[in-house]
Symmetry: none
Subunit: 192 residues, 4 copies
């Protein structure tokens, strides 16, 4: 991330670019978004974008992080099901909202082909999320709410998995109503 190197540059330009990218991606979609389009909307030169970011994905990631950095917390109410449900709904909202949904999918897509983007997403999104989630699950295990032998990381993945599945697989639809159903299936198991 380049922020640290740019202490002297005009913060206004950076904000204008992030805003332009954030609004444009909603209007034209991730794949139709171009560096030239962002530059034009931001009233910036293309060179300015290339100076600070190495791809459009990293611009969007920075824009996204500014919008969602407060969502990664994991509350502890004492009841693990409530906390898990709250967090799953929070993620579901993030991934389906008009603002951030297609942006997030675009970034996931880009990360498939671009290792820099994958690493950046990992550092800025997934590591904080996993840390918060595994800590909460470990507490629940110690409290006897969850099975003690299971790997917290795999539990996190299993919990988020249906959300991403519905997001990614064509012709499925991610809805808030199905979240608690999936949660309870995971908690109780599907075997008789």
């Amino acid at each position: 991330m380049p922020q640290q190197n740019r202490s002297r540059q005009n913060e206004k330009v950076r904000i204008a670019i992030l805003d332009a990218a954030f609004s444009l991606v909603r209007e034209v979609g991730y794949d139709k978004l171009t560096i030239e389009g962002i530059a034009k909307r931001a009233g910036a030169g293309k060179q300015t974008l290339y100076r600070w970011w190495s791809s459009k994905a990293l611009i969007l990631l920075e824009a996204l992080v500014e919008h969602v950095k407060d969502e990664l917390v994991f509350a502890d109410t004492g009841n693990i099901r409530d906390d898990l449900l709250a967090q799953m709904l929070r993620v579901e909202k993030l991934l389906t909202s008009k603002d951030t949904g297609c942006l997030f999918i675009g970034l996931l897509v880009e990360a498939q082909f671009n290792q820099d983007v994958a690493n950046a997403m990992n550092v800025q999104i997934y590591q904080p999320t996993y840390r918060a989630a595994t800590e909460r699950l470990a507490i629940a295990q110690r409290h006897g709410e969850l099975q003690p032998g299971l790997d917290p990381v795999m539990m996190v993945e299993l919990l988020y998995a249906p959300i991403y599945y519905r997001l990614i697989v064509p012709c499925t639809k991610l809805t808030a109503a199905d979240i608690p159903k999936f949660l309870d299936m995971i908690l109780a198991g599907i075997r008789l």
Copy 2:
């Protein structure tokens, strides 16, 4: 899909194009794959590709389907865990193999932005898969192996979900070794 309209055209050309696409996508990756590149390798004119397919994704989908149409079965050995594990491993292999892995991811990606591709994948991949899987699960419910109140479709999704999650989320890795762990977590539940 155009196959039905092309009874009179040279099947050799179609095969050459699908083969070219299938081999090229392995070598250069989905996003670097171009229509021109496929045409060149196939010894075909670009117009021929555009005549029969409306995007590179649909070419790849057709190529993929030819390679995997036999994988969508769902055996019934009488033991539901065995059958589920076998199918999950089959899918895992498909999604991580050198041949079809990045091809499949590319198609998933494309389907995010291209409704035609999404529909085509649904018809050719997901509907057959879901049908086979839900039938097997319903049998297991009737046999008293699985909880009778659960929606077979959601169970299918839950079972496939961790596979897709590991496939799609950056910096995670889909391995055969984790498949039975996820399966048992889903079967038994994670709650104590």
Copy 3:
């Protein structure tokens, strides 16, 4: 020319093709005329056209010749100026008429780059024209109407030259009214 080889082929097809070419070139212009367009209008297969003609120019030439073969005569009224003027006006009319004008220009153009067309035009258009014209001029020389020492061929060329000049040079316009002026300048000379 292919006519002699096609005794057995359907004359109706040939006529349909020539008619289609002749009418199409008026509507779309020489440079926008395509083999495919002619075939479509004629209700013929492209292969049929390629079988009998080697370029669209030769189709048009054949169509043109059918329309103008009677114009190449050179009457002898006994008065050389009258005969020359009549012929020059006849050519002017041919070159500026809606039917044949742009067709003829197209052929001239094509002949610049295509030796086959140049030869065909020479044989079918220019040789008959030159023969008729030089014969009439030679008679006039013998009758003491024209200077005896001049080359009849060059005289023919000089007479036709202003017509072609006006036809070909951009932003000049070929009009019947200027023909007699040019003729009299050539007859009398421009020197005082």
Copy 4:
């Protein structure tokens, strides 16, 4: 013409493109000349050509004008025949030279179908030529060398006409040796 708008652009690129066009048209002929070919030889991107010129004809016209802008003068030695002959030979040389001949014919051809090219040729080639020529002829008329009642413009056209005729009509050949013969026929008239 775009020259005036491009003060800031790299003149080297413009020259490279004009040179490439000029040399390529000699090698492959006007009709086989392509924008892509020019771009490739010039080491330029296609977009650069499209940015400054709207057709290959206008590129060639600009290249031509650079080569011939000094040929359009019309000397005044006091003897009208000498001056006319000199100018006609100059034009003959221009139209038959290996460098500029087929290029010029190509432009004439293009001007038949493309009004922009016709206008550009008129402005850059014919208007200067006509102006210089009619002025010299008017002087000759005032000096009593030429008939005073004749239109200078039509005289100019008549003088150039045989040159263009020989250039354009298939299977005729423009030679320097015939130029003075045509000139003298025009000056003296062909009537006895």
